[in-house]
């Protein structure tokens, strides 16, 4: 389409740079055909620009609504996570902290020797059985002791009750005896003639 060393249309639209552009400028000065093509391109562009922009019939605008606006804390959080340098800093800090913890952590204890699980289970069973037997014996002893204490207390209480009953009976008998004596004397006195 043209004899230029580069695309004449790239040159026309300003998309050539540096030495390419300089070479093309030199070529255009010496080439009538390319100059004529540039004129046609320019006329076409001018004709297209005859179609002017229209005014927008209704302006676009946004209204701030606090209900839908993110809070300051959320904006700061988003800003943090959308910031490459801050994320990089945070990542480096976390890695440093991890390395520091690993460096300062005490050495791990030596590995435990191999354990005979069957023997361990048997030993645990034996200890559990002994503990149960011991606890049962202690509980029975506690029950026997408590029973003996309760029986002793009951016997003591019954003995005191018997003593009290015996005292009441004796008192009642003495009173009855005095009343009988008094009745007897009264009847004797009534039979004897008065001097």
């Amino acid at each position: 389409m043209n004899c230029a060393p580069f695309d004449l249309r790239d040159y026309f639209f300003g998309e050539l740079a540096g030495t390419d552009r300089a070479g093309m400028e030199q070529h255009v000065q010496d080439c009538p055909a390319c100059r004529a093509e540039l004129v046609r391109l320019s006329q076409t562009r001018d004709a297209l620009l005859a179609l002017r922009e229209e005014e927008i019939p209704q302006r676009v605008a946004f209204v701030s609504d606090r209900v839908y606006e993110p809070s300051a804390w959320k904006r700061a959080w988003r800003a943090f996570w959308h910031s490459g340098p801050r994320l990089g800093f945070a990542s480096a800090a976390m890695v440093s902290a991890a390395l520091l913890v690993l460096a300062l952590r005490p050495a791990a204890p030596p590995p435990a020797p191999a354990v005979d699980l069957a023997a361990l289970r048997a030993e645990m069973s034996r200890q559990v059985e002994a503990a149960v037997t011991r606890a049962t014996a202690e509980a029975e002893a506690r029950h026997r002791s408590e029973t003996a204490r309760l029986l002793a207390a009951a016997e003591e209480r019954f003995a005191r009750q018997r003593e009290q009953d015996a005292f009441v009976v004796a008192t009642e008998l003495a009173l009855l005896k005095r009343q009988m004596t008094a009745v007897y004397r009264a009847s004797f006195d009534a039979r004897e003639p008065q001097p």
């Binding site: 249309r9 790239d10 998309e15 046609r40 391109l41 076409t44 004709a47 946004f62």
Partner: protein, 186 residues
């Protein structure tokens, strides 16, 4: 005290902190260009306006994902491109590439007062003859002034494909517009 123009990157930084007014200022800088880009692709003012609003809403929601604020414009147009072609797919699921004919005739007939109406109509007709991909590439290069690399990022195609689309479109447009241009300028 140093005075300098408030750049898009300043507004983006403040909008990222939740300053809606900064984002509104950013919108006011770009809404007309995005609207016209969508208008030329969609050919319908209502759709273009709806999608323009959607584009800026998505831009606000994803502003923190924009790695390089200096590349805000290609990023914004990438959203607009996706929205436009998503609408095409919804309306014509069997076709993901071809764009419907320009539906709103008035869109293509807007005279400027400076250039002859005949030229403006001819440009509109010439743009309609292009494929959707070619038309979008012309819009991004001629009207929006993006670099080839930026256009490639917006439309999701290699630079070589972008150049191929643009140059093929220019060949067609040269043929379509040359006679009218000659008459209009005469």
């Amino acid at each position: 005290m140093i005075f300098r123009a408030v750049e898009d990157s300043d507004l983006i930084a403040r909008a990222r902190k939740g300053d809606v007014e900064s984002f509104n200022l950013l919108v006011s800088r770009w809404e007309r260009r995005v609207y016209n880009y969508l208008l030329r692709i969609l050919g319908n003012r209502e759709d273009a306006l709806d999608l323009t609003q959607d584009v800026f809403l998505k831009a606000y929601q994803n502003l923190r994902k924009l790695d390089d604020p200096s590349r805000f414009a290609p990023w914004l147009y990438r959203i607009a491109h996706n929205e436009a072609f998503s609408l095409f797919r919804k309306r014509r699921p069997e076709s993901t590439e071809e764009v419907p004919e320009q539906a709103d005739a008035a869109v293509t007939a807007g005279g400027t007062g400076v250039f002859p109406l005949e030229l403006s109509l001819a440009v509109s007709r010439a743009l309609e003859r292009l494929s959707a991909d070619q038309r979008e590439t012309v819009l991004l290069k001629i009207y929006q002034g993006f670099k080839f690399e930026e256009i490639a990022g917006i439309v999701g195609a290699p630079v070589s494909t972008v150049k191929s689309r643009l140059y093929a479109a220019l060949e067609l447009l040269k043929e379509e517009l040359a006679p009218v241009k000659t008459r209009g300028m005469a």
